[in-house]
Symmetry: C2
Subunit: 172 residues, 2 copies
């Protein structure tokens, strides 16, 4: 019962953020607001989200489902791996000769690589890896990653302590 109709989204000019998002699906202001709600609490009830963004419970539910299906967002538990028993974690900078994308795909296929991103700068790729122990770490870096065709060199940064980890860009 939020006083009748909600103003049509297309009535207001498209939010600046909607344009040029790298090829992904278009996200309007309402979906952004929904994501923002779920960044604060991934289990917040649909009705509460609806009240916050001005939509019915069912509409929120359908939008959330679509965002999940499209891969725009995922609702998950995140932890500090070091707290949960993985004793060695590292960021690895990778230099590539040839096709960077195919190397990125190869690294993405590895379970131990939790995070893979193509970058500009003195590395072509940055990869975060999570391992059980030192032996595992050594094997992943020196045997597996360097064995990928196109990998020219790597540089490792072993994690000592995680200081911050947030996902609340929306709540600034």
């Amino acid at each position: 019962m939020h006083s009748g109709r909600v103003a049509s989204r297309s009535a207001e000019p498209r939010d600046a953020r909607e344009s040029r998002n790298g090829g992904g699906p278009h996200l309007d202001t309402v979906s952004l607001a929904i994501i923002e709600q779920l960044q604060e609490d991934g289990r917040r009830p649909y009705a509460a989200i609806g009240k916050a963004v001005g939509l019915s419970e069912a509409a929120v539910r359908q939008r959330v489902q679509k965002l999940l299906d499209q891969g725009v967002m995922q609702i998950v538990a995140v932890t500090d791996p070091l707290t949960v028993g993985f004793r060695r974690q590292a960021m690895v900078g990778v230099n590539v000769e040839g096709d960077v994308e195919s190397v990125a795909d190869a690294l993405s296929a590895m379970d131990e690589c939790e995070y893979v991103v193509m970058t500009a700068g003195s590395f072509d790729l940055m990869v975060e890896i999570v391992c059980e122990d030192d032996d595992h770490l050594l094997e992943v870096i020196n045997r597996r990653i360097r064995a990928v065709p196109g990998v020219r060199s790597t540089e490792s940064f072993v994690y000592l302590r995680l200081k911050k980890q947030t996902y609340m860009w929306g709540t600034r």
Copy 2:
């Protein structure tokens, strides 16, 4: 009805992963299993989790609440910022003179820093930053980060494309 009593956790020897977790609270096998479930789907019902780990719905609920309260895990929506309207993102390697920890704290206090980790290697800190646009990125790196006392130098890696982002270390 999982055949009467669940074996007391302390009956079996402590899981190897439980020890030496960096000072955080002790996590037994069951809590690990719960986290694993929520890494697959952060909204999975407590009853379903209970069936998977061999616990009642209420017990799962109480454990999850405690894990959240203790800060061991968070249940949140995660996205690719580039997909959601933030146009510039970068990893920044930082070299520090003096106390690394205090610099890490200062950087953690900045909203734009989403991820801060102390490392061993040619950088003392690695920081992931999320910005609206080029101007914002420039200001954060050149004015704010370099202005922190103790920061000797920085090197930036601007994100071109996010290839992988997972949180399912448990499901290997």
